[in-house]
């Protein structure tokens, strides 16, 4: 994939805080025009990656290119093309909603007041309300509005629906998808909600312990993973060409979530198609250093 086709490209990207790694040897390419889910447990490096992509912090090592340029505090034209929603959804609480929109308009040459007002009108958020008096869901929508009305080529959303009730969450994601479809922006969003990933994303990046453990199209991921089950206490090895991502044993038998590159025809195994959620969960479980003694590097290498 060349630079023009990717919106975000990281090569051996490192981010070191004082004693810990926020991100380590992260290599991934995120294609243009996709809605990409960045999935991982707390501390896996999702926010770190998004903040570096937004130019809020700089890598400790490796390279990061966003829309073909290196994001940094000095990259002015990149900030025009990238919208960033922080996980804390920071807003000026003493401002009225209309003043927040004015703030966005004054700071962004590509701003569309129509987009902003239409978005808020759909949600019945009054422009005269003080931001501090809005509910959490409404504040999240105002913060998202600031990103969308900027009409960026790339939207970086750090847990946009976190801490919202199901209705607010559904509203936010639905309107997000509608705006993205209208504008054609690329979206990278981090989330803990695997149901959101399956519903709205067409590309998934799984991070665990500061490493990328999976990165691909959702369709391709689903197509190349299977659940193999065998009844009884069998130690039957799966055929060659299969990578075991996760293995579970129970009183009834063994169950393996595997990655298969070729059609699988072994009648001794029962074969099921896993859901995207099951696959992502399997990678997240195996990405933990506390399980089975395998670390994320091994899983990542095994998956490729």
């Amino acid at each position: 994939m060349n630079e023009e086709e990717s919106v975000l490209e990281a090569v051996n990207l490192d981010k070191r805080y004082r004693r810990t790694w926020g991100l380590r040897e992260c290599t991934l390419t995120i294609p243009k025009g996709r809605v990409v889910a960045l999935v991982g447990p707390n501390g896996s490096g999702k926010s770190t990656l998004l903040r570096m992509a937004a130019g809020l912090s700089e890598p400790s090592g490796g390279t990061l290119r966003v829309l073909g340029r290196s994001p940094s505090p000095g990259t002015d034209d990149l900030r025009e093309r990238v919208g960033y929603l922080d996980q804390d959804r920071p807003l000026y609480r003493s401002f009225r909603v209309a003043e927040m929109l004015r703030f966005g308009e004054m700071n962004n040459p590509t701003w569309s007041m129509d987009v902003a007002k239409n978005h808020l009108a759909l949600l019945d958020i009054p422009l005269r309300s003080r931001v501090g008096n809005l509910s959490g869901g409404q504040q999240a929508q105002v913060a998202l509005t600031l990103c969308l009305a900027k009409q960026p080529e790339l939207l970086l959303l750090d847990e946009p629906a976190a801490a919202l009730d199901p209705v607010a969450r559904e509203d936010l994601l639905r309107l997000l998808m509608r705006q993205v479809a209208d504008s054609g922006s690329s979206v990278v969003l981090s989330t803990h909600a695997l149901s959101d990933v399956a519903a709205i994303c067409d590309y998934v990046v799984v991070l665990a312990h500061a490493h990328v453990v999976l990165s691909n199209d959702t369709e391709y991921i689903v197509e190349t993973h299977r659940i193999l089950s065998i009844v009884g206490d069998s130690d039957l090895a799966p055929p060659p060409g299969i990578t075991i991502i996760n293995e579970q044993r129970s009183a009834r038998g063994r169950s393996l979530l595997v990655r298969v590159e070729l059609p699988f025809n072994d009648i001794r195994w029962r074969v099921d198609r896993p859901t995207l959620e099951e696959i992502v969960l399997a990678y997240l479980r195996e990405g933990s250093p506390h399980r089975d003694g395998r670390n994320a590097d091994e899983i990542e290498n095994g998956a490729r």
């Binding site: 903040r51 937004a54 960033y84 922080d86 920071p90 000026y92 700071n107 962004n108 913060a143």
Partner: protein, 338 residues
């Protein structure tokens, strides 16, 4: 600029209201004290240097008592006036950066299309305008009050900083100081505390150690002088320095000394006087020793006409320091990680 004004509006309005309250108070006090002093310095009292009849003496004593009792209130006015501009600058500076970092709104601001340098420059411009608009008239009023209250000559350390334009420069300096400290510490409370301590140290250091050496001192022979319009505080000025000057020190110099004596000459003369006084039993009187040693009591002072020169030095110092801090903050802001 609109955004910065909107963000700082409540602080600016609060300080503007406070400035109005303090101004009205200072104006009322100043007019009252001005009237009292005019009465006290005019006939029949003439600062109690006139030929007083018993009834006049009682009236003048009462007047003196009233004038004297306003001294404590004067100290309060001076305290408020000295603290107003630095506090205004520091609070604006902390709000401009440390508060944004702590509330994480800086992540919103720094991911808009404008650069961080532009963001910070706007903060400086809007804040400096707010500071100047509020502090300049306040400084003018305090300058008038210093003269009206006769609390101290305007060039003396006590009121020098609130007479003239130094307070405006202090406010701007404190804003820049709080911005830099805020960028480094990232916590509003700590930034304000450290800013207050740093400013207090710089202010005291400059006022007590640097400023006296920037003036060209003169020397006067010690004598009792009559109180007059524009005098420094107190009812009997016993020094030889003019009433509108800044007395630096008193001591003794040889009668043969010409020009302004150095500190070491005055110290040596004063030491000789001390030794002389205790060398004899019973101790010799001061005047006897001075005559015996050929010394004369003198007072070093900075003349009042150097007021604007010293204002330029101190104001310039704070403005140049503010400019350097602003340049530093523009460098630092590019490196701040979020």
């Amino acid at each position: 600029m609109w955004f910065v004004w909107r963000q700082q509006r409540s602080i600016v309005i609060a300080f503007a209201l406070l400035a109005v309250v303090v101004s009205v108070w200072a104006l009322i006090m100043g007019l009252h004290e001005q009237t009292l002093w005019r009465e006290y310095l005019a006939a029949p009292c003439k600062g109690e240097f006139g030929g007083l009849t018993p009834s006049d003496a009682k009236f003048c004593e009462g007047l003196q008592s009233t004038v004297s009792s306003s001294g404590k209130l004067n100290d309060v006015v001076v305290g408020i006036a000295v603290a107003f501009a630095p506090l205004f600058g520091l609070i604006l500076g902390v709000n401009a950066v440390a508060q944004e970092i702590e509330q994480k709104t800086i992540r919103l601001a720094w991911t808009q299309s404008g650069s961080r340098a532009r963001w910070l420059t706007n903060k400086y411009l809007a804040s400096v305008v707010s500071l100047v608009v509020i502090l300049a008239p306040l400084c003018w009023l305090f300058s008038w009050w210093v003269g009206a209250s006769h609390d101290a000559a305007r060039i003396t350390q006590k009121v020098f900083v609130i007479s003239g334009f130094v307070e405006v420069a202090c406010g701007i300096f404190c804003f820049a100081l709080a911005v830099v400290v805020g960028l480094l510490l990232r916590r509003p409370g700590w930034s304000l505390a450290v800013g207050v301590v740093l400013y207090a140290a710089i202010f005291l250091g400059f006022t007590t150690q640097v400023l006296p050496s920037l003036g060209s001192p003169s020397v006067a022979v010690m004598q009792s002088t009559q109180l007059g319009e524009g005098s420094s505080s107190g009812f009997y000025s016993s020094g030889g320095a003019p009433a509108d000057s800044w007395p630096l020190s008193t001591g003794y110099e040889p009668k043969t000394e010409r020009g302004v004596p150095s500190t070491s000459v005055i110290n040596q003369g004063t030491n000789n006087m001390s030794r002389c006084a205790i060398s004899e039993t019973p101790p010799l009187s001061e005047s006897h020793c001075a005559q015996h040693l050929g010394l004369i009591a003198v007072q070093l002072y900075i003349p009042g006409d150097q007021f604007w020169t010293l204002q330029s030095f101190e104001g310039g110092f704070y403005l140049i320091a503010a400019a350097l801090l602003a340049a530093l903050s523009l460098l630092v802001v590019r490196r701040v990680e979020q």
